[in-house]
Symmetry: C2
């Protein structure tokens, strides 16, 4: 067994898992990356697929393509059902298993409905490519339905778009829906008056984009309102159904409702038979290992760990990437017989959020930006962080095209035909 | 009623319907175009979506976007269920109807299984965007499954791709699958030897691409075989099931089977209560009107009409476009009180078919081309015929990228996860 190589299994091909695999790509070990999908998803731009600005293949790439030059990495498309810690094996849905010496769990999070799972059917969230095309279909079908609807009340409900949650998803979607509506309505529908459209952003707390300071958050609020978005603060949602949403004591009739309020970690805690925090995350050790399991690491949205300032490490792409790189490095140290590296330390690069065409807010700590300049920086930063050259070219052209013409090119309704499209839950559970 | 405008209803936003709408776009009449989808589809390139070279939004555009400058054209997304000829009304699924003075039926065709509809579940055809992404998923999942399969017989069945029908769809798909396989296999799967892959094209007749002369058809056959495609001629398919296909007395174990053999017209004949030909098409008058109904026209794949040389007008895009333009012109003549134009006369511009990277055949009548030059002409011709400038840019870049790097960018598996993806028929009926 002397020549058997150390075997690292990574579950999840998101930002954390992909970085861990890349960082171990030339190490003296075997790496197996398991994901139930064949693609890595650039989630920060997923809302642009949902609002018809980009097409799915511009924000998602086959994982095995991204890792093609890392010869010691094997990619497997499979669904994990559990971890057998006693036998050091990851269990797969087809009954087979993958043995590990080190295990990195980077399974991310999905949207959560605060104990109201029945809301999901009416207010889909935005985590996967299928989520995005389903929301795109919902948005576009609403306009198609209005064009043929004569009842004023039903018209208004079809033209009312409710976003639940004032975080980045809600804010970015609100801005993009206003633009989609304006672009679509401009001369393309005969019965719709643009002023009929309502976009309502509902946030239970007292500010939107809570991770920004008052100044920038207030600017974002003002920008949204100037665009025509109705922002409702301070009243949490108490009911969601097929016809609308109730927040506080107010009822809003809306046929299109989108969920951006809560997330919960994937079932890592259950797999490890450990109690997670209230969002299902595993509280990890300073070296990101699981308490009692020095060979199992949890990174990204599935992990819970505090920064030096006492705040939790945020559930954003840069944090997951830093953690993936850290664990890969730690494993390299162990393989080399070196002393362990110092504990994981999160470096916060900054916060960015875009609000609509030509408006964004940025807090890099040392500098704060808002407005048009911030919007250009936001765009350039995202193009920079894209994984592939080809995608950079395509997204740059797509954005320039939209910027200059206002025309969103990916307005395809798929898996749904008028006037009786199947309910989302019949066609979108893949 | 003197100022009521003549009302033209067009059913179907394919090549024929779209051209008719555009040609009536400035006429002194009201035009209503009804389609159950929101997009026009550039079908000649749909096989490239199925083989991961292009993304859906590169070959499909919202119909109302394409007609946005034609102010007298109204676009409705709705499903037609019949025609009430006595009352001059098109009946819609939601119970409403649209009145017409002139009616243009351009509903196209769908794939047909020669009385074996049960084959569809195992051998999907390629007519819609959803068909294309379903086939793409099937192809890509086959490679993912092989990577984890150890049984040699099951591996071979997974790596065997059967195309039924030696027309353009079968030939183009065969070539593209070989390239997809080669690109995907190059360094991205650890257990697959490229030589394991088999692509088998099954044609019941004695030649492929039957519309070309012996010379070009023979060249195409030779090219395909040189690429590694096994072409089986002269034995029609007698059975298709989940594990393979039988043609003549030969059985081929293949997990991926694609249907490109037959088409049947949409239910226009039933709507009009007229007997169609054996493919369901309506035999139209020399002016493309329906016998006994001078105000109803059938164009494109749903119509049957002979050329002057006694051959039928082929079911291809240029024929549908010429017919759409002809009927629009005829209606303009009638509106102006002018004598009717001469009967419809189809002008055959030529036949083009691409076989694989750097190989195509072209017959313009006055010149015949084959090989690399034909392939470049094929590409330029298709870019020229694309509807939108933006798409021209994107497809040009996509093609150049694939040409130079061999990497197909749209290798996304959506609506399906390993290892137990849902059967196609559960997720793809939209």
């Amino acid at each position: 067994m002397a020549d058997r190589k150390h075997r690292v299994v990574i579950v999840g091909g998101g930002f954390g898992g992909l970085l861990a695999a890349k960082s171990l790509g030339s190490a003296n070990c075997e790496v197996v990356l398991i994901d139930r999908r064949n693609h890595h998803l650039f989630q920060p731009l997923l809302y642009q697929v949902a609002t018809a600005a980009l097409s799915p293949s511009e924000v998602a790439w086959p994982i095995r393509h991204l890792l093609r030059y890392h010869r010691n990495v094997r990619v497997i498309m499979a669904t994990v059902t559990g971890v057998d810690t006693a036998n050091h094996a990851v269990l797969l849905e087809d009954g087979s298993s993958e043995n590990y010496d080190s295990l990195i769990l980077a399974t991310g999070a999905h949207h959560a409905y605060f104990g109201h799972d029945e809301w999901e059917a009416f207010a889909p969230g935005l985590k996967t490519v299928e989520d995005a095309t389903a929301i795109r279909r919902k948005l576009l079908l609403a306009f198609e339905a209005v064009e043929r609807e004569t009842d004023p009340k039903r018209r208004q409900a079809l033209l009312t778009f409710a976003l639940i949650g004032g975080g980045p998803t809600g804010v970015e979607m609100a801005g993009a829906i206003v633009e989609l509506g304006r672009a679509s309505l401009r001369g393309q529908f005969q019965t719709i008056d643009p002023r009929e459209m309502r976009v309502v952003l509902i946030e239970g707390g007292n500010k939107i984009l809570g991770n920004f300071d008052e100044d920038l958050s207030g600017y974002a609020l003002q920008s949204l309102r100037k665009m025509g978005v109705e922002v409702e603060l301070g009243r949490p949602v108490t009911a969601v159904d097929a016809d609308g949403v109730t927040f506080g004591d107010q009822r809003l009739e809306a046929k299109t409702i989108i969920w951006g309020a809560g997330v919960a970690a994937s079932p890592v805690a259950k797999w490890l038979d450990i109690e997670g925090d209230k969002a299902g995350r595993i509280k990890v050790e300073p070296d990101l290992s699981v308490p009692g399991h020095r060979d199992i690491f949890v990174i990204g949205d599935a992990a819970s760990i505090l920064q030096e300032n006492g705040k939790p490490v945020p559930g954003i792409a840069p944090a997951a990437k830093q953690q993936g790189r850290y664990v890969a490095n730690l494993i390299r140290h162990r393989l080399g017989g070196n002393p362990p590296p110092p504990p994981f330390r999160y470096k916060h690069a900054g916060d960015l959020a875009t609000i609509g065409k030509r408006s964004a807010i940025i807090d890099f700590g040392w500098i704060k930006l808002r407005g048009a300049l911030a919007w250009w920086v936001w765009g350039l930063a995202h193009i920079y962080f894209l994984v592939e050259t080809r995608t950079r070219i395509f997204i740059t052209i797509s954005w320039l095209w939209i910027y200059l013409s206002g025309n969103r090119s990916s307005r395809l309704i798929t898996h749904g035909m008028a006037p009786h499209p199947k309910p989302l839950d019949e066609v979108d559970k893949g």
